[in-house]
Symmetry: C2
Subunit: 121 residues, 2 copies
């Protein structure tokens, strides 16, 4: 296994849809979350705000099956290639990058967040 | 324009090849680098080690023409969709994510770094 460089215990993870190759989200993982991702085959991350490991989909049921993990030249960034159930973004869009910097929406909602989350994040 | 959230003055940028949709690299930009990217149409970043703005390709001539900039739901991460000249990675691979976490190389070198850079990074 390629040795990873964690910064303050964390490594950024870019999540890419295996099928259409959209970039779905960017999150952080710690060593344990990377390990859980490898052993379970489902994406795990570390929440800096909640200070704990989370499994993507634990609340929304929008799990990410991780098909492959790539590592960059410096060993300080990962890509999870995933099969996404539902949508990756809590806003209801398939991925978090649904707007241009100028504000044009380039995607369509696939769920209503109020139906999925107990409260709006 | 969507307001951006910089953390210690920086925002992470995921760079995606417009043509084949490979994730080429992840780097950081500050507000000035984002502005220069928008006004010039070429990718600019902020180097944390050299503490200065850099234009991708200024040494290697492997420029990135930025076709579109996407922003995530939280406004704290960007995607540059680019047309890459040469290769994005200083190792000679087209992008930095040329290996799986297990160490399998999934890509092929397109240049010899010694021919492009004065010294190996």
């Amino acid at each position: 296994m390629i040795p990873l460089k964690f910064s303050n215990g964390l490594i950024p993870v870019v999540v890419q849809d295996k099928k259409n190759r959209d970039i779905l989200m960017v999150a952080f993982a710690n060593e344990e979350a990377v390990g859980l991702t490898r052993t379970t085959g489902f994406a795990h991350y570390y929440s800096r705000s909640r200070k704990k490991i989370w499994k993507k989909g634990e609340e929304s049921r929008h799990f990410q099956r991780v098909v492959r993990i790539l590592v960059d030249c410096d060993g300080d960034c990962l890509v999870y290639e995933v099969e996404q159930t539902g949508a990756a973004c809590h806003t209801g869009y398939p991925g978090c990058f649904y707007r241009t910097l100028e504000g044009t929406v380039i995607s369509e909602r696939v769920f209503n967040p109020e139906d999925v989350y107990k409260k709006t994040k």
